[in-house]
């Protein structure tokens, strides 16, 4: 048993903090005692520190399964920034030679980040079984339930992986999980009954919750322009479509004095890095983004998160609005809803899943299936399932079940949009929380209530002056800034 004194000394020495955030100490103590844990800690509470602490304390390798390349890269760089060089990401960005080199030296790394798809590679698995693994982490573990069946079936294999690795101590980390999702995670990971679930409330009292309805896109755009002109920056607007993300970004740049940039998976890596760093550095006031932006972004002073399109479900909505107000200051989460959004979200929710007719065609033509899997997301999913030994009737049942679940999730988010009651209570009940706070003045906007958001920010000291695009066109000045010369 590690003493409190030792824990705090290590926290100070390795991370420079004098106290733990809510939930961190409990999780760390449990892991150090050798107990697998499901930690459901709200966004912004330092979930990564839990496993980083254990890795640096025990000096045993930590294997982290991470869902996104950008998130992986960010976490690798964050660790390096802290001075930890024994860190690597094994993912599809690596060339064959680089992968080979890393695998040959895997024992040298303390933190290994891995995309779930890499685990199907027998060479990777063999290399992993050869190292002294102290902890297996499944980061953003809600993806097992949310993404697994839809487009990342490898997530469903993580339990088998645990088995092959000899059931190492495991930490499943997420910010949002209902009881059903938690059970999914535990079952998929084969965590057994001894696992402990450490759950903090998902509530973020400093985020005001609101929904506004518009008759059509034009009205929505007008309202959006008004809003960003009056709300204090920095802010974040989420879209379901890359194209609209770029279009609205251009519109807002033209119609406001703010510096607005777009961020989505269609941008080159260099541009994504630039936007992210400029936003963190305060050079960009507002980001128009798809869901590709956010995981791992830790900017404390985001004052508002607006959803231009309907979010996919309440889990992802909570993840995304959780990027606001990490500094504890008053912030706003607003959905701009118009009737046609429902159809768009329904289309997005269902289009990635193959229909029974498509399944039949693909089943009858293996050649077509192989060819389509290179180009088409749903054929790729079928191909992957087939490689995993799942039969076509089984697939049909899985997809049918997922369609039902997705439509239910959409109904839930629509119920949130249309609720007559307190929005905070609605969310907390959805996440099976029994203690729900009383509605308060800066809690949420009730149905059909018009609310002046300025009231929210009157007392908060926030920045609302637009950024002036810095820098002239002098390349010599850039070189002078880049390189210090004696």
């Amino acid at each position: 048993m590690v003493s409190e004194k030792e824990l705090y000394a290590h926290l100070k020495q390795e991370f420079g903090f004098t106290r733990f955030k809510a939930g961190q100490k409990q999780v760390i103590q449990r892991l150090l005692a050798g107990g697998s844990t499901v930690a459901i800690l709200p966004t912004g509470t330092g979930k990564s520190l839990c496993y980083q602490f254990v890795g640096t304390y025990t000096n045993q390798t930590v294997l982290i399964i991470s869902p996104l390349l950008s998130l992986m890269q960010d976490q690798v760089e964050q660790l390096r920034l802290k001075g930890e060089k024994r860190v690597v990401a094994l993912n599809s960005n690596l060339s064959y030679a680089a992968k080979k080199q890393i695998l040959a030296n895997l024992h040298q790394y303390l933190f290994i980040y891995l995309a779930p798809e890499m685990l199907n590679n027998p060479v990777v698995l063999a290399a992993l079984t050869d190292i002294d693994l102290g902890l297996l982490v499944v980061d953003e573990a809600h993806c097992i339930s949310a993404w697994g069946p839809d487009f990342r079936p490898d997530y469903l294999q993580l339990g088998k992986l645990r088995q092959k690795l000899g059931f190492p101590v495991t930490l499943a980390l997420t910010a949002t999980a209902t009881k059903r999702v938690t059970s999914d995670m535990m079952r998929s990971l084969k965590l057994g009954r001894k696992v402990k679930v450490i759950r903090n409330s998902v509530d973020r009292p400093n985020i005001f919750l609101a929904v506004e309805k518009s008759a059509d896109t034009q009205e929505k755009n007008q309202r959006l322009i008004q809003l960003i002109r009056s709300l204090p920056a920095p802010g974040l607007i989420y879209f379901s479509s890359k194209k609209q993300c770029d279009q609205i970004c251009a519109l807002l740049n033209a119609k406001s004095k703010l510096t607005v940039a777009s961020y989505h998976a269609g941008l080159p890596a260099g541009d994504r890095y630039a936007v992210q760093q400029q936003f963190l550095g305060g050079q960009i006031d507002l980001i128009c983004a798809t869901s590709a932006f956010g995981m791992g972004i830790n900017k404390p002073d985001i004052r508002y998160v607006i959803h231009y399109h309907l979010p996919e479900n309440l889990e992802s909505y909570l993840q995304e609005i959780g990027r606001a107000g990490r500094d504890g200051q008053q912030s706003l989460a607003l959905i701009l809803y118009s009737e046609q959004d429902r159809g768009l979200q329904q289309h997005l929710a269902l289009s990635a899943l193959p229909t029974n007719a498509e399944l039949e065609i693909l089943q009858n033509s293996p050649q077509l299936l192989e060819k389509s899997s290179q180009e088409n997301q749903s054929a790729q999913l079928v191909w992957r399932y087939m490689q995993m030994g799942v039969s076509f009737p089984q697939m049909s049942a899985v997809f049918s079940q997922r369609r039902t679940e997705k439509l239910q999730a959409l109904q839930q988010i629509l119920a949130y949009v249309n609720t007559q009651g307190c929005r905070r209570k609605f969310i907390l009940r959805y996440f099976d929380e029994t203690k729900t706070p009383q509605h308060f003045r800066k809690c949420c906007q009730l149905a059909n209530e018009s609310f002046d958001y300025q009231q929210l920010f009157d007392l908060a000291k926030t920045k609302n002056e637009p950024n002036i695009f810095a820098g002239g066109n002098d390349y010599e000045q850039i070189l002078k800034n880049l390189f210090k010369t004696d």
């Binding site: 390096r80 960005n93 541009d271 630039a274 760093q277 066109n473 850039i478 070189l479 880049l482 390189f483």
Partner: protein, 345 residues
């Protein structure tokens, strides 16, 4: 102007061209046939411009240009510039272009760009004595290259050399191009600009910015190699190991050393038809290909007398139907030889 427009540069109003061939050249997915048509289109220098270009992006772009009336499409899927397309192409030709196109075929320019960004960031942070920073380039290969280089040299040498080379290269560029090139770099308390921001600040289009970045990256890298700079090994590492070109060159060399096609096939443990393909590629790519070893002037005359003047219109199938006794290999070699003569190569 949008990114699609640039594809117009690869089409003409006279010659019907297959977009798929151009896509394969741009992405360096090369077959003997692609290389032959690359020669006919005089587009061999665009090999490898965009190795990561997705087929659907290009194909949709071409379709859009057809819909917009810049290109006309024939039922056989070949396309030509329309009058509107021609004037758009003229407009594009006045904008930025790539000064060292061959460099793209011989090097992985995307990776070289990442390498340069990493060199600048590492040197910048080092010049301020900073060893802990968020690394901008997520490329293991580049990170390993710089580590290897630093085993031999030190951070001060890196800083001194990159600054020196950037200054000497950029002083010969227009201030605007030099600024665009530098604005992509990150370093100590310096954040990079996005392509859209550079476009906003300069008044150029995003496409023009992208071309300028590719152009200066390739020429700066070329400058480092030519000067044999201390930094050159980090660029040289990204030289293309093009298997196709290498095998073609090897096959030609064996042939010049007196080996027959059959012997070359045995030596390489491949089919004779594969050796013929290698030799056809060599005929396209190498300057001193020994055409005379395969057919006489008289045979060439006899063959061409049966074919139209425009090589694009030649058809081996039609020739066969006229009972002309010639192998496809020799037929194609004659077409290559005549194309070189036509284009003065």
């Amino acid at each position: 102007m949008n990114d699609n427009d640039w594809w117009l540069l690869f089409f003409t109003a006279k010659q019907k061209r297959r977009p798929a061939v151009i896509r394969q050249l741009l992405t360096k997915r090369l077959s003997s046939s692609t290389l032959f048509w690359g020669l006919r289109y005089q587009l061999l220098e665009i090999i490898g411009f965009f190795p990561k270009l997705e087929a659907s992006t290009f194909d949709q772009g071409i379709q859009k240009l057809v819909e917009q009336g810049f290109l006309s499409q024939d039922p056989d899927d070949t396309v030509k510039l329309t009058e509107r397309g021609r004037s758009k192409k003229q407009e594009l030709l006045t904008g930025p272009t790539l000064g060292a196109p061959r460099f793209f075929c011989e090097h992985r320019v995307t990776e070289i760009n990442q390498m340069l960004k990493l060199i600048v960031q590492v040197a910048s942070e080092a010049s301020y004595g900073n060893s802990r920073y968020y690394v901008a380039v997520d490329n293991f290969e580049c990170q390993q290259m710089i580590k290897q280089w630093l085993h031999q040299y030190d951070l001060q040498t890196l800083h001194k050399n990159i600054l020196l080379e950037l200054k000497s290269f950029l002083e010969n560029e227009s201030p605007q191009k030099a600024w665009i090139f530098c604005a992509q770099f990150s370093g100590h308390q310096v954040l990079p600009k996005t392509v859209a921001q550079m476009a906003q600040q300069t008044g150029l289009t995003t496409l023009e910015i992208k071309i300028i970045l590719l152009d200066l990256t390739s020429r700066f890298a070329s400058h480092l190699l030519q000067k044999n700079s201390l930094l050159a090994p980090m660029i040289k590492h990204f030289e293309n190991q093009n298997v196709l070109f290498k095998k073609s060159r090897q096959a030609l060399q064996l042939f010049l050393n007196g080996k027959s096609i059959q012997q070359i096939a045995q030596y390489n443990a491949v089919k004779e038809s594969t050796v013929r393909e290698y030799l056809l590629n060599a005929a396209i790519l190498e300057r001193d290909f020994p055409f005379a070893s395969f057919f006489t002037d008289q045979e060439e005359e006899l063959l061409t007398a049966r074919l139209p003047a425009d090589i694009d219109q030649w058809s081996y199938r039609e020739l066969m139907s006229e009972q002309v006794q010639v192998s496809f290999f020799n037929y194609r070699l004659v077409a290559i030889k005549r194309s070189h003569e036509e284009f003065g190569q």
